[in-house]
C-alpha cells in the first residue's frame, strides 16, 4: 500500500487546495508546498529503502480493477522507477517555491487552480512510473496530459493556447498508436495464455513471433518517441517549454518527457526483445541525429527557453542512444541521465525563469552584463549551464560518459558522433552565457535585473547541490540502478563485451 499512499498524499492535497476559497491564495500555496514536501520525504524514504541487491520490482501491490480484461491496479518500483519518482517529487516543492508568484503574473487561471493542478500532475507522475499494469500505465500516460494542458493553456505566455493544443494533440496521437499496440498485445496474450492480461511481469515472459513483436513495438515506440521527444517528433517541445511557466516547463521536460525514455527501458526492452534488437540500428541513427540536430538548433535559438528545450532534445538523444546499445554502461548511464537531466534542466529553466520575470523577456538579445548587476544570479546560471554541458564533477558528466562508453563498446561510429556533441553543448551554453551575463549591462538590464532573492535561492540551491553531490558520489544512485540494469540485460539477452586485450586477472579498481 506504500505506493498508493504516496499517490494519495498529493491527491488529497490537490483536492484540498482546489476546495479552498479562491481568495485564500497564500493558504493555497502553503498547503500545496506542505503537501509536496511530505510527498517528497515519503518518496525519498521509499527509494532509499529499496533493496539494492535485486533488480526485481519491489513494494508490489495488486488489486483487481477490471477483471474481465485482466486489468488490475498494480504498482511497484525498481531502482530506476524509484529514483525517477524521488527526482520528480523533489522537484515539485522546489518549483512551487520558485513559481510562488507565477500564477498571479501569467495567464488567466486562479492561483489555487495552478497549485492544485501541479499536485494533480504529481499524482500522475508517481502513477506513471509506479504502474506495473500496462493498462494502468496507459491511463496515467494519458490522464497526465490534462493537468499539463491546463497548466500550459491557462498559465503561460502569449502563445500559450497554441502551445497547449499542440502539446495535447501530439501526445494524443502518440498515445493512440500506443493504445492500438496495447490492445494488440492483449489479444496476443489472450491467444497465447488463454486469458488476456496487461500485467507487466506476465507479459515479459510472453512468447511472440518476430513479426508481431515488430508491429506492436512500433506503436509503443512512436508514443515514447513523441514523448521523449526525438527528432522529428520534437516540434511541440520548444513551443510548450517556451510558453509555459518555468515551473511547468521544468516538470514537463524534466519529468514528463522521461516517461518516454522510461517506457523504452521498462516496457520495450523486456516485452519486445527481438524487435528491440531489430530496430536498434535505426533508433541509434535517430538518436545520433537528435543529439546533433538538437545541439545545432540550440545554437541557432534566440529565446533562452527554446534553447534549453532544444538542448533537451539533444540530451534525450543521448538517453535513447544509451538504451538501445544494451550494454550495462549504456543502460545505467541512460537511467542515471534521466535523473540528472531532470535536475540540470530544471535548474536551467528556473534560473532563466528568474531572469525572464525580471526583464519581462526571454530573448537572449534583451540581456547582457547580468553578471555585473546580479553576480549571484549569473553564477547560478553558469553552474546550471555547466551542468547541462556535462562538466566533470557534475552528475550529468558521469551519466553522459557512461552512455558514451557503453555505446563505444557496442557501436564505435555512434559513440564518435555523439562525442562530438559535447563540443556543441559547450558552445551553445557558453555562448548563451556570454550574451546574457557578460559585457556591459544595458540601460534596461541595469534598471530591471535585480539580484536573486532568498526565495529563489531556496528553490534552486537544493537542485544544484544534488547535481554536485551526485557528480561526486554517483554510486549513491547507481547502486540502485545497477541491479535493474542487469535484469534488463537478461531480458534482451545481452552480455557486455569483454575487453579485447585486457589483463583480466589484474584487480580492477584496486
Amino acid at each position: 500500500m506504500q505506493l498508493t499512499t504516496l499517490m494519495l498524499i498529493p491527491l488529497v492535497g490537490a483536492i484540498a487546495v482546489f476546495l479552498l476559497p479562491a481568495a485564500k491564495e497564500t493558504l493555497a500555496k502553503q498547503v500545496a508546498l506542505a503537501v509536496s514536501i511530505v510527498t517528497a520525504i515519503d518518496a525519498i524514504r521509499l527509494a532509499l529503502s529499496l533493496d539494492n541487491s535485486s533488480g526485481a520490482i519491489q513494494f508490489v501491490e495488486k488489486h483487481e480493477w477490471i477483471p474481465a480484461f485482466g486489468i488490475s491496479w498494480s504498482l511497484g518500483i525498481d531502482g530506476i522507477a524509484g529514483l525517477l519518482i524521488a527526482m520528480a517529487t523533489i522537484l515539485v516543492p522546489l518549483i512551487i517555491v520558485a513559481g510562488w508568484w507565477d500564477a498571479e503574473n501569467s495567464g488567466r487561471g486562479t492561483v489555487k487552480g495552478f497549485f492544485a493542478l501541479i499536485l494533480a500532475l504529481e499524482v500522475c507522475m508517481i502513477g506513471v512510473f509506479a504502474a506495473t499494469d500496462l493498462f494502468l500505465f496507459y491511463v496515467f500516460f494519458e490522464v497526465m496530459l490534462l493537468p499539463v494542458y491546463f497548466l500550459i493553456g491557462r498559465f503561460g505566455g502569449a502563445q500559450r493556447s497554441y502551445a497547449a493544443m499542440k502539446f495535447l494533440l501530439y501526445s494524443l496521437v502518440g498515445g493512440l498508436f500506443m493504445l492500438a499496440s496495447l490492445i494488440g498485445l492483449y489479444v496476443v496474450s489472450a491467444r497465447t495464455l488463454g486469458q488476456g492480461t496487461f500485467d507487466f511481469v506476465t507479459l515479459t515472459g510472453l512468447h511472440m513471433d518476430a513479426g508481431t513483436q515488430k508491429t506492436l513495438f512500433l506503436g509503443f515506440f512512436f508514443a515514447f518517441a513523441v514523448k521523449a521527444p526525438m527528432v522529428p517528433f520534437h516540434t511541440w517541445l520548444p513551443d510548450a517549454a517556451a510558453e509555459a511557466t518555468p515551473g511547468t516547463s521544468t516538470l514537463l521536460v524534466g519529468v514528463l518527457d522521461k516517461v518516454g525514455t522510461f517506457g523504452m527501458i521498462r516496457y520495450l526492452l523486456p516485452i519486445f526483445p527481438d524487435a528491440s534488437h531489430y530496430y536498434a540500428p535505426i533508433i541509434i541513427v535517430l538518436a545520433c541525429i537528435s543529439i546533433f540536430y538538437g545541439a545545432l538548433l540550440a545554437i541557432g535559438q534566440t529565446d533562452m527557453m527554446r534553447l534549453i528545450a532544444f538542448s533537451s532534445v539533444s540530451h534525450f538523444g543521448f538517453i535513447v542512444l544509451g538504451i538501445f546499445v544494451f550494454s550495462s554502461q549504456g543502460l545505467a548511464g541512460s537511467s542515471f541521465y534521466m535523473i540528472n537531466h531532470g535536475f540540470s534542466t530544471g535548474a536551467l529553466f528556473l534560473v532563466v525563469g528568474y531572469l525572464a520575470s525580471r526583464r519581462g523577456s526571454k530573448k537572449i538579445s534583451d540581456f547582457g552584463g547580468v553578471s555585473k548587476v546580479a553576480p549571484v544570479l549569473a553564477g547560478v546560471l553558469l553552474i546550471s549551464g555547466l551542468s547541462s554541458l556535462a562538466l566533470p564533477g557534475m552528475s550529468s558528466f558521469v551519466s553522459e560518459f557512461l552512455v558514451l562508453i557503453g555505446t563505444f563498446s557496442e557501436n564505435r561510429v555512434a559513440a564518435n558522433i555523439a562525442t562530438v556533441g559535447i563540443v556543441l553543448a559547450a558552445f551553445y551554453i557558453l555562448w548563451m552565457y556570454q550574451r546574457v551575463a557578460t559585457g556591459e549591462p544595458s540601460e534596461e538590464v541595469n534598471s530591471t535585473v535585480s539580484e536573486i532573492n532568498k526565495r529563489e535561492l531556496v528553490a534552486i540551491v537544493p537542485i544544484l547541490a544534488a547535481i554536485i553531490a551526485l557528480g561526486i558520489f554517483p554510486q549513491a544512485a547507481l547502486k540502485y540502478i545497477n541491479p535493474a540494469v542487469s535484469d534488463l540485460q537478461k531480458y534482451v539477452s545481452v552480455v557486455d563485451p569483454t575487453p579485447a586485450f585486457g589483463a583480466l586477472t589484474e584487480g580492477i579498481g584496486s
Binding site: L296, A332, L430, T438, T498
Partner: protein
C-alpha cells in the same frame, strides 16, 4: 595526506565563493594560506618520499568507489609518485608565488575575492589532474582546469573580448577533450581498465591499431590543453585574462598538462612508433609556429604566449622521442614553469607601471625606472634563450641533443627554434628595457610593490639556478626513471660539436634582434608596409581566420538553415497537415446548410445506398 593537497585549495575556493562579500576583507590572505599550506604538504610528502627507496615511493590512496557499472570500475583514487610530486611542487610552489603576486596586482579590483577563489579552484583542479590514479579521474581535473581557465580568462567579463576569449578557450579545449574521452573509451574497450597501473600493465597485450588510436586520441587531448597545432588558436586570446593568470595557467602549469598526459601514458607511446612520430611532428610544427608568431607581436603578453606555445612544442617533441626524451620533456617543463612564470610576472609588473599598456612600442628604456623588474626579467630572458648556466640552457640543450640523435630533421627544427627564440626574446627585452623612452603622455613608470617583486625575485632565482639544481643536485634523470623509464643516448658524448653550434645560433638570433631593435629607433606605430611573413605572424599565422572560414561561418550558416528547416520544414509540415484537416472540415461544414429537406434527401440517399449495398452483399 594526498587528499589534503587537493582539499586545501578546494576548501579555500568553496569558502570564498560561498562566503560571498563577507570574505572580501580577508579572502585573498585565506587563499594564499590555503595554497601555501598545500605547498607545505607537498614538500612534506616530497621529504618523506626522499626517505624511501625508489621502488616504494609511489603512494596510492583509494578514497572511495567512484563509478562502478558492470565492468567499468573507476575508483576515486589518488596516486603520488616521482612524476606527480614534481608537478605538485611546481603547481603549489609557483601557484603560491602567483597568489602572493596577485595580492598586489589585483589590489584595486572590486572582484579580487572571486579572483582568488578561482585561483584556488584552479590549483585544486590541477592537483587533481596530476594526482589522479586513473585516466577518468584525470579527466575531471582536466576539465576542471579548463573551467578555471575559462573563468579566469573571462575574469574581466565586462570586456566583450575577454568573454569571447574565455568561451573560445573552453570550446577549443573541449575539442581536445573529445580526444581524451575517446582515449578513455578506447582504453576501456581494449584493456578493460582505465587506471594508470592497469593500462601500463596491459599495454603490451594491445594490438598495434588500438595502441595507435589511443595514442592519437591522447595527442588530440594534449593538443587542446597545451595549445598545440592545430588547436593552438585559443592561447593567444587567453592573454585577455589578468597577467597572473597568464603566468600560472597559460605558461607554467595548465598548458603543460598535455606533456604530462603523454609522459603519463608512456606505456602506450613506447609501443606505438606511429603515435610517437605524430607527437614529434606536432611538437616540431608548434615549436616553429609559436616562435614565428612570437617574432612579430607588439603585445608583450601575446609575444610571451607565442613563446609558450613554442616551448611546449619542445616538450611535446621531446615526449614524442620516447624513453630518451620523457625525462627531458619534464625537465624542460619544470624549468620553463619557473622562467616563463617569472617572465609573465615581469610583464605584469611592467604593465602595472605603465597604466596597463601592453604595446611594447610604447615602452623602451624602462630599465632605469623598474630595476627589480629589469633584473628579474633579464634572468628569465637568459634562461629562456638558453645561455649557460641558466635554467633553460640545461633542459633545452638536452632536448636538442636528443632530437639530433633521433633524426637530423627534427634536430634542425629544434635548433632553428632556439635561434628564433633568441631573436624574439631579445626583441622583447630591448623594446621594453632598452632604447629610448617611447612612453605615452601621462605614463610615469614606477616599480611595483613588494608583494609583486618578491615572487618575481624568487622565480628569477629559480630561472637562474633551477636547471643546475634539478640536473646535478636533484638528479632528475634518476628521480623520474622509475616512472617514465630512461634510456641514455646510444652515442653519448658523440655530439661534441652540437653545444657550440647551438650557442652560436642563439648568439646569431640575439645579434640580429639587437641590430634591428637595439641600435635603431623603434617606431611607435607598427609599420604597415611589411612582408607577407610578418603580416602572417601578426595575424597568428591566420589560425583564427582558418577556424572562422572552416568551422564558425559554415557552422553558423548551418544552424541558421536548420532553424529555418525546423520551423518551416518539420513544423511547417505538421502545421500544414493541421491546416489541411482544418480546411477540409471548413468545406465539409458547408453541407450543413440549414434546409431540413436537404438533410432528409441526404438521409434518404444514404439509406438507399445502404440498402443497395446490403442487397449486393446478399448476392
Amino acid at each position: 595526506m594526498t587528499a589534503a593537497l587537493i582539499g586545501l585549495p578546494l576548501f579555500g575556493a568553496t569558502v570564498l565563493l560561498l562566503g560571498g562579500r563577507r570574505t572580501n576583507a580577508w579572502g585573498h590572505y585565506f587563499a594564499v594560506a590555503m595554497s601555501a599550506s598545500s605547498f607545505f604538504v607537498g614538500v612534506a610528502t616530497f621529504m618523506s618520499m626522499l626517505g624511501r627507496s625508489a621502488e616504494d615511493r609511489t603512494i596510492e590512496t583509494h578514497l572511495f568507489d567512484w563509478i562502478a557499472v558492470g565492468s567499468f570500475q573507476v575508483p576515486f583514487g589518488l596516486q603520488i609518485d616521482q612524476l606527480s610530486i614534481a608537478f605538485v611542487l611546481l603547481i603549489t610552489g609557483v601557484g603560491t608565488l602567483i597568489h602572493i603576486y596577485s595580492i598586489g596586482y589585483m589590489a584595486h579590483d572590486e572582484n579580487r575575492r572571486k579572483f582568488f577563489a578561482y585561483l584556488n579552484l584552479f590549483v585544486a583542479a590541477m592537483l587533481l589532474l596530476v594526482l589522479a590514479n586513473n585516466y577518468f579521474l584525470l579527466y575531471v581535473g582536466w576539465e576542471g582546469v579548463g573551467l578555471a581557465s575559462y573563468l579566469l580568462i573571462s575574469f574581466w567579463q565586462h570586456k566583450p573580448s575577454a568573454a569571447v576569449a574565455g568561451k573560445k578557450a573552453f570550446v577549443v579545449n573541449r575539442v581536445g577533450d573529445v580526444g581524451l574521452s575517446l582515449a578513455v573509451m578506447l582504453m576501456f574497450v581494449t584493456f578493460g581498465t582505465v587506471t594508470f597501473s592497469g593500462v601500463s600493465a596491459a599495454a603490451g597485450n594491445g594490438d598495434a591499431t588500438s595502441l595507435k588510436l589511443i595514442g592519437f586520441a591522447l595527442l588530440l587531448a594534449a593538443c587542446g590543453k597545451s595549445a598545440q597545432f592545430p588547436l593552438q588558436s585559443w592561447l593567444l586570446d587567453a592573454m585577455e585574462g589578468p597577467t597572473p593568470v597568464s603566468a600560472l595557467i597559460h605558461a607554467a602549469t595548465m598548458v603543460t598538462a598535455g606533456v604530462y598526459l603523454i609522459v603519463r601514458a608512456h606505456a602506450i607511446f613506447d609501443l606505438s612508433e606511429t603515435a610517437r612520430t605524430a607527437v614529434v611532428v606536432i611538437g616540431a610544427i608548434t615549436l616553429l609556429l609559436g616562435a614565428f608568431i612570437g617574432t612579430a607581436k607588439d603585445d608583450i603578453k601575446k609575444g610571451l604566449a607565442g613563446s609558450t606555445m613554442s616551448q611546449i612544442g619542445y616538450m611535446i617533441l621531446a615526449a614524442g622521442l620516447g624513453p630518451v626524451g620523457y625525462v627531458f620533456a619534464i625537465f624542460h617543463l619544470l624549468t620553463h614553469g619557473m622562467f616563463k612564470a617569472g617572465l609573465f610576472l615581469g610583464a605584469g609588473s611592467v604593465m602595472h607601471g605603465v597604466n596597463d599598456d601592453v604595446n611594447m612600442r610604447h615602452y623602451g628604456a624602462l630599465r632605469g625606472a623598474m630595476k627589480i623588474t629589469y633584473v628579474t626579467f633579464g634572468l628569465g630572458f637568459l634562461a629562456i634563450i638558453g645561455i649557460p648556466p641558466f635554467a633553460g640552457f640545461w633542459s633545452k640543450d638536452e632536448i636538442i641533443k636528443v632530437a639530433f640523435e633521433q633524426n637530423t630533421l627534427v634536430g634542425l627544427c629544434t635548433l632553428v627554434g632556439a635561434g628564433v627564440t633568441a631573436f624574439y626574446m631579445t626583441r622583447m627585452m630591448t623594446m621594453t628595457f632598452f632604447g629610448e623612452a617611447r612612453w605615452e603622455k601621462d605614463v610615469h613608470p614606477h616599480e611595483s610593490p613588494s608583494t609583486m617583486t618578491i615572487p618575481m625575485i624568487i622565480l628569477a632565482v629559480g630561472s637562474a639556478f633551477g636547471g643546475l639544481l634539478l640536473l646535478f643536485v636533484g638528479d632528475i634523470e634518476a628521480w623520474l626513471e622509475p616512472v617514465t623509464g630512461f634510456a641514455t643516448s646510444t652515442e653519448a658524448g658523440g655530439m661534441a660539436w652540437l653545444m657550440p653550434t647551438t650557442l652560436l645560433v642563439i648568439a646569431a638570433g640575439v645579434a640580429y634582434a639587437w641590430n634591428t631593435y637595439g641600435r635603431r629607433p623603434v617606431p611607435v606605430v607598427a609599420p604597415a608596409e611589411v612582408s607577407l611573413l610578418t603580416r602572417a605572424a601578426r595575424n597568428d599565422a591566420y589560425g583564427d581566420a582558418i577556424n572562422e572560414a572552416i568551422f564558425m561561418r559554415p557552422g553558423l550558416h548551418l544552424t541558421r538553415a536548420l532553424v529555418w528547416f525546423d520551423t518551416k520544414g518539420i513544423d511547417g509540415f505538421i502545421g500544414g497537415f493541421a491546416a489541411l484537416i482544418g480546411g477540409l472540415s471548413a468545406r465539409g461544414r458547408k453541407l450543413q446548410n440549414g434546409y431540413a429537406r436537404s438533410y432528409a434527401l441526404t438521409m434518404l440517399g444514404g439509406a438507399a445506398l445502404i440498402a443497395f449495398v446490403l442487397y449486393l452483399v446478399r448476392l
